[in-house]
């Protein structure tokens, strides 16, 4: 579809909204949490523990983002175990593995978990450098898997185009760059010059590509004036910051994450970077919330990996979030990030799929029965509805981002509750059956089907 449209009209067609409430609930969507009255499971259920191998970053700068993932699953497992376990009988046993060991070691560890520890289920993974390596191995050793993150489009586009055993819960990575760019185009439509700083690996490249293609459509007069590609895990950004400032941009787009981002914003403050340009980050507030200080600048687009921030949906509007945040805070004395929410919801999706399969076949269901139930499953999680698309085993939920703001209630900045931006996920990711594209299907889909906006 070529041709031009008015940008504001197109943004509203996409359903990009600020301060929106959630759509009303429809049909029998299962919520997270342990129901008070449970149906008695059918048939004989063994009481052997259900072993879950959980791999995420327990060390290194990535741990501030990844480790809450384990806590999310731990919380769900403890709740389920307190109610008797899966199908009332099988207690969940969690085995930890450190993703920081490196991709090769991670692949070996997954094999070991399956072959020696005999895990029933594999979960976790933060880095999109790891899922394309682990996905094919999980298929090969036939271990039921829900990746929490590691959300690269490449996993389904190339590495495992026809998944059977593996699923993934957090939004597809392309949604991140797209969400950041739409939010920036809507907020700062006069942007002409854009500088980029992204970590030099698949996630950063993906964010750059999708931010750029959306800007080509939304702000066709804007151009990329500077690129910086710091190594993932670096804590020295002096040169990248100087380069970005020197290119005199109106806007900086960045997908630096975890401990790297904490070092980045502290250095950028002293270089006066935030005074000289607007900043749109894909994942600034993706870290455990307490990792960011009150010195963080306000009013930047502080992305949450387009997935979830614990303050939204706020108040009593969405009880699943309120209950989750309260329980998580009570258990760990900190607030959850999107990884914690993802792992928590993934565990309950597994539980629901097992229960549904049990109802149909009785006894402890085979993996294939659980997989059939996971395909197409929709659940009301803390973040809102999440839906597993049957064709690519990918979880979809509406994308969220917002603006950093300090409030009295929390000792760290949160997303400004009055200006939360939400986008229906179907409008920013390639539909089922869209041909696999380069660099991603969503990229070619945007390139070919989105109109170019007039100023």
């Amino acid at each position: 579809m070529a041709g031009e449209v008015n940008r504001r009209d197109f943004l509203s067609t996409l359903g990009v909204s600020v301060g929106a409430t959630l759509a009303a609930s429809a049909g029998a969507v299962l919520p997270v949490g342990v129901a008070q009255a449970q149906d008695k499971p059918k048939g004989n259920i063994p009481d052997t523990p259900y072993k879950i191998g959980h791999m995420t970053f327990f060390t290194g700068p990535a741990a501030v983002l990844g480790e809450p993932m384990f806590k999310g699953q731990q919380l769900a497992a403890e709740e389920i175990n307190a109610a008797g376990g899966l199908l009332g009988r099988r207690k969940i046993e969690l085995l930890k593995a450190d993703e920081n060991a490196g991709t090769d070691a991670n692949v070996k560890e997954l094999r070991r978990l399956k072959l020696s520890e005999k895990i029933d289920f594999f979960c976790g993974i933060t880095s999109s450098g790891n899922t394309p390596a682990l996905g094919p191995v999980a298929e090969e050793v036939k271990v039921l898997t829900i990746f929490v993150d590691g959300c690269t489009d490449f996993l389904w586009d190339k590495a495992v185009p026809n998944p059977h055993y593996i699923f993934r819960i957090t939004n597809m990575q392309s949604a991140d760059g797209v969400t950041g760019a739409l939010a920036a185009a809507m907020t700062w439509p006069k942007t002409k010059r854009i500088a980029h700083i992204h970590p030099d690996y698949s996630y950063g490249r993906n964010a750059f590509d999708h931010f750029t293609i959306v800007m080509k459509k939304m702000l066709p007069n804007a151009e990329n004036v500077s690129e910086g590609w710091p190594k993932l895990g670096t804590t020295d950004f002096s040169s990248h910051i100087t380069k970005a400032i020197a290119s005199k941009p109106d806007l900086l787009a960045t997908s630096v994450w975890g401990g790297d981002y904490v070092a980045f914003y502290k250095q950028a403050l002293r270089y006066g970077m935030f005074d000289k340009m607007k900043v749109a980050s894909m994942i600034a507030f993706g870290v455990a919330p307490h990792a960011i200080g009150k010195d963080h600048p306000e009013g930047i687009i502080a992305g949450v990996h387009s997935n979830y921030h614990f303050t939204y949906p706020g108040g009593d509007r969405w009880p699943y979030n309120k209950a989750f945040v309260e329980k998580y805070h009570k258990r760990f004395n900190e607030y959850p990030n999107f990884q914690a929410e993802g792992a928590y919801t993934a565990t309950y999706m597994l539980k629901s799929a097992i229960e549904k399969a049990n109802k149909l076949v009785g006894g402890w269901p085979e993996d294939d029965a659980i997989i059939t139930m996971l395909e197409g499953l929709m659940m009301a999680g803390p973040a809102g509805y999440v839906y597993i698309r049957p064709d690519n085993h990918q979880g979809y939920k509406d994308a969220v981002t917002g603006f950093s703001k300090n409030v009295a209630e929390y000792p760290f900045p949160i997303l400004d509750p009055a200006r939360i931006i939400t986008i229906p996920i179907r409008n920013i990711t390639a539909p089922p059956g869209w041909p696999k594209g380069e660099p991603t299907s969503t990229y070619t889909w945007i390139d070919k089907t989105w109109p170019v906006a007039k100023a």
Binding site: E67, D236, S238, I245, A263
Partner: protein, 292 residues
């Protein structure tokens, strides 16, 4: 052009820490003929000790007091070196070089795990000094004052080391031992003592490098390995065992890295490796190395 000085200062900033790390590495090799692979994590150890020490001070501690606590990491690393050399390294001097590589590599791993055990998995930051120090304006662009402190300390360390090695009696003995250990020993030099002193000094420098950088960048577990790789590029260019080489190598790497980021963003690391490769082809012993 208005950013020329800022780019230059950034280059000097990375050169300052790189010199401290690579200088220590070179000093140890020059005197003891040991390629100390653990050096990267001795630098990280310095960073952690300083971050820990600064973290122990209550909020609101005046900035001068914070500066007094800064060298804690250098002292900690020096103490660590003084213990490690006689206990772990000395038994291996008579063995083939591969043993020393294995031992120091093992030490690199062990130190990493020790820091993980003591200080936990999360980055340890101590940014009060960085935040309190403010910025000055260079042609209308803010530049962090703290970076100037790091550059100054790097410069002083270079001058001090030069004076120490070339102007003191200890320096003469050190150089004599470096040139011919057996002869120095025959002339009555206590080689064991020189070794432990040289190793301690080398660790002190690495620890100082970690200590001064931590307020700006926070201590993370992988920092040692990254620093080790970069400092090897420095000594490959400058020549292993030469202090002048470490200084010139650090300046070259600092400047090239800055130019790489500014102009060849896509291949910022590759530019450094490429340069090291060219130096190896043209002058295999490095710019200031002695061909043996």
């Amino acid at each position: 052009m208005d950013f020329f000085f800022i780019h230059l200062l950034n280059a000097l900033l990375s050169a300052a820490t790189l010199f401290l790390i690579a200088g220590g590495l070179s000093l140890i090799y020059g005197v003891m003929r040991i390629v100390n692979l653990a050096h990267g994590n001795i630098y990280a150890f310095g960073a952690y000790v300083t971050a820990w020490a600064l973290g122990r001070l209550v909020a609101g501690t005046p900035t001068p007091v914070l500066y007094l606590a800064l060298p804690a990491g250098a002292v900690g690393a020096a103490l660590l070196g003084a213990v490690l050399e006689p206990t772990l390294l000395r038994p291996f001097y008579k063995r083939a070089e591969e043993y020393q590589l294995l031992v120091t590599f093992g030490l690199l791993m062990i130190l990493g795990d020790v820091m993980h055990f003591v200080w936990g998995p999360y980055p340890l930051s101590a940014s009060a000094l960085w935040e309190n120090s403010g910025s000055l304006s260079i042609a209308g662009n803010p530049y962090p004052n703290y970076n100037l402190v790091v550059i100054a300390i790097g410069g002083f360390a270079a001058a001090f080391l030069w004076a120490f090695v070339y102007k003191t009696r200890f320096g003469i003995v050190l150089r004599a031992t470096s040139q011919n250990m057996r002869m120095a020993s025959a002339l009555g030099v206590n080689v064991n003592r020189i070794y432990v002193q040289a190793f301690t000094l080398g660790c002190f420098m690495a620890g100082l490098g970690g200590a001064i950088i931590v307020p700006a960048q926070s201590a993370v577990l992988d920092m040692g390995v990254d620093a080790l790789v970069l400092s090897f590029i420095v000594v490959v260019i400058g020549g292993l065992g030469s202090l002048e080489g470490a200084l010139v190598g650090a300046l070259i790497v600092g400047v090239v890295r800055e130019m790489g980021i500014a102009w060849f963003a896509e291949i910022e690391l590759a530019v450094l490796y490429l340069m090291a490769a060219i130096v190896l082809l043209v002058r295999p012993a490095g710019l200031f190395g002695r061909a043996s």
